[in-house]
């Protein structure tokens, strides 16, 4: 197997394939025309709640609905 095969530039910079793929997808979504762009961005929204746990019990949960980060 070629262990010194040319790696893609993003792998050489420390980025994983998933990060690269998600960045590409986000860039394509940002170039869409209007009704499609709104649909695409709303489809990719994430809502999640986070709570820290101490002594085996969860503390108060915070709800976050950030737009997807890379």
């Amino acid at each position: 197997m070629a262990s010194n095969a040319a790696v893609p530039f993003w792998r050489a910079a420390g980025m994983t394939y998933i990060t690269y793929s998600n960045i590409c997808a986000n860039l394509v979504r940002n170039c869409l025309k209007e009704p499609y762009k709104a649909e695409a961005l709303s489809r990719e929204k994430v809502h999640f709640s986070i709570s820290k746990w101490t002594d085996g019990k969860p503390e108060k949960a915070t709800l976050r609905s950030d737009s997807p980060d890379e």
């Binding site: 993003w10 420390g14 690269y20 590409c24 997808a25 860039l27 940002n30 170039c31 869409l32 025309k33």
Partner: protein, 202 residues
């Protein structure tokens, strides 16, 4: 006792000889039931029926026909939708990292990584084009092609002005980038936007 030992020692080599390299070489019937699991189950629990395994719910992969089929069967899937499901087409041209690759029925089994570019599906006289952000294509020996992409849009949903703006913005970012990661991100931006540009103009 010694006679038994030689029989037991003789068994493992037969199992090793049965290992086959490609799943499409197996006859279709073998793949419908999980034979080794049911045998092992029946040895230990003969009274209860063995449970069904995921393998019995899946449709067996169609075997590789001996002559090249006339149509290519394409499955084009995205995380949120299935754009084409077992559609029979004449040819697809996929934007692989090694260049535009044309896939005809009877193509050699290949796995290719896709780069941002145009995927075109040719069926009779009509051609449907999609811009694919990235993904993979798995071409199987039996003329089935599975194309998986994270984002794929028909070309008429793209806005040329936004593409130009994006290209200019990332060219600027590349010149002002300091860390390797920033340079990589800017380079990705440039690659994607130039591919979008050539898709819209070409």
């Amino acid at each position: 006792m010694l006679r038994q030992a030689s029989r037991l020692l003789a068994r493992p080599p037969r199992l090793a000889a049965r290992a086959r390299p490609f799943s499409t070489d197996l006859p279709a019937a073998d793949q419908t039931a999980d034979a080794t699991f049911t045998e092992a189950w029946n040895k230990v629990i003969p009274n209860i029926d063995p449970p069904k395994t995921p393998l019995s719910f899946m449709q067996p992969r169609p075997p590789t026909p001996s002559s090249i089929p006339s149509k290519l069967t394409v499955n084009f899937v995205l995380p949120y939708a299935s754009a084409l499901a077992t559609k029979e087409v004449d040819m697809v041209i996929v934007p692989a990292t090694t260049g535009q690759m044309g896939v005809l029925p009877g193509h050699v089994a290949t796995i290719a990584e896709l780069k941002p570019g145009v995927l075109s599906v040719h069926e009779g006289n009509e051609v449907t084009k999609y811009f694919v952000s990235s993904g993979f294509v798995f071409i199987h020996a039996n003329s089935f092609a599975d194309i998986i992409a994270v984002e794929a849009v028909p070309l008429d949903q793209l806005d040329a002005n936004l593409v130009q703006k994006g290209l200019a913005e990332f060219t600027l970012k590349l010149s002002s980038a300091t860390t390797d990661l920033e340079k990589a991100e800017a380079q990705i931006g440039i690659d994607v936007h130039s591919a979008l540009n050539s898709a819209l103009t070409g």
